[in-house]
Amino acid sequence: MADLKTTVFHDLHRELGAKMVPFAGYDMPVQYPMGVLKEHLHTRSDAGLFDVSHMGQVILRPRSGRIEDAALALETLVPVDVLGLPQGRQRYAMFTNDAGGIEDDLMVANRGDHLFVVVNASRKEADIAHMQAHLSDRVEVVPVTDRALLALQGPKAEAALQALVPGVQAMKFMDVAIMPWKGVDLWISRSGYTGEDGFEISVPNGQAVAFARALLAQPGVAPIGLGARDSLRLEAGMCLYGHDIDEATSPVEANLTWAIQKARRTGGARAGGFPGAGRILGEFTDGAPRRRVGLRPEGRAPMREGTVIFAGAEGGEPIGTITSGGFGPSIEGPMAMAYLPSNLTEGALVWAEVRSKRLPAVIAPMPFQPTSYKR
């Protein structure tokens, strides 16, 4: 694999015994010697440290100096209330396209005089180009290339980070703050991709490895790879871009209506005004023909991405497809997400074709595993 990029933690991953795989153009750790299953359970019982430096960090600085102008500019690309996002707070958003599909999902934070966004690794070049093309008249779009990104997740995350950065325990879920550590600024948010309480921490490249080592030295903190990251986020019912959401799925179909605040909906203060608003707001009123739902297979066989779903045990046409699926170590059973006709609701029985056999699965509420955010 030539041309794979690496993060600043590459040597540390090797030292920790990681098995490396190509992911979104980067050579990344899929697991450490502990293994995916134990890494997953360790994150839920103690704390896990994830290298997410492949993700894109971008600053949006208003040319006028007024944060409202950056917020209003970004609102032309996302169906989310950015203007109403208070200073020191972060929220989930998605870039939509003219067809009402999703180009990427992201986090956006209000940091007083500018916005800070974090986008997916696989989409960061496209996202940056998209923002530069549409926002540059009002906003300076500045990719942050000299900082790494770590996620620290799990019940022992707070104590571990508090030991290094006194004060983080006062943060609540989706708070953001800039805090010092050994003379450098850490950009910290209380958020993550596991359903656990935890933090995401942007740290300058030069101090990143020392900071990661300091976290790993704290009680209960273990390095966790992409394998467990995927099973943790699936148990938490969170979407993986390019799988559970993509350029063809709308936020309503994807069951992400909670991320579209009243201000941007029909009748709201700034209704519409984002790409694909016609379709998306129309689906709020009329409903979408299909929806992303959770599935719990009745047996023990995992149902993987691409598995076709039928209404009955025999015959009939496919009614949908699984977009993510696997085994949930904490729920001790298989779980999946699928797009299914909207008339099928929680408790409905469907049939998934696994190795030419139809196996029953029930539409189930998500998250599959209860979340433990610090509200």
Binding site: L37, K38, G227, R300, P302, G326, R355
Partner: protein, 121 residues
């Protein structure tokens, strides 16, 4: 007792007039934590290369192929209840199935332990 190995990382052990089939330590390690095992039905006639059993780990699903022509005469139900046994004791308690074969000399064509060790490097 002689162990033979296939290129699909299965081990075969002759036990009286039956052949016991499992997966190697190397295969179990590569698969990662096994979370699901599906076994064939007893008395099934299988031909070499048929899909015989399924193993799913946290990462992916893999098929176990019949290593030789024959009849499935026993299956290890313990694996269905406790798939993690495959990682704990792949060469022992985690055997998959036992086959009755017409011609045991077919086993001669498979690798011995040294040859298998060369294969996995």
């Amino acid at each position: 007792m002689v162990m033979k190995y296939t290129e699909e990382h299965e081990w075969l052990r002759v036990d009286g007039d039956v052949v016991v089939v499992g997966i190697t330590e190397h295969a179990a390690e590569q698969l990662g934590d096994v979370v699901f095992v599906e076994l064939p039905e007893v008395e099934t006639q299988v031909a070499k290369g048929d899909d015989c059993a399924v193993i799913e780990s946290v990462k992916a699903a893999s098929d176990i192929l019949a290593p030789i022509d024959g009849e499935i005469v026993a299956i290890n139900e313990k694996l269905v209840d406790d798939p993690a046994l495959v990682n704990k004791d792949p060469l022992g308690a985690a055997w998959f199935f036992k086959m009755k074969v017409d011609d045991l000399s077919v086993l001669d064509s498979y690798m011995d332990e040294d040859a298998y060790k060369d294969l996995i490097g």
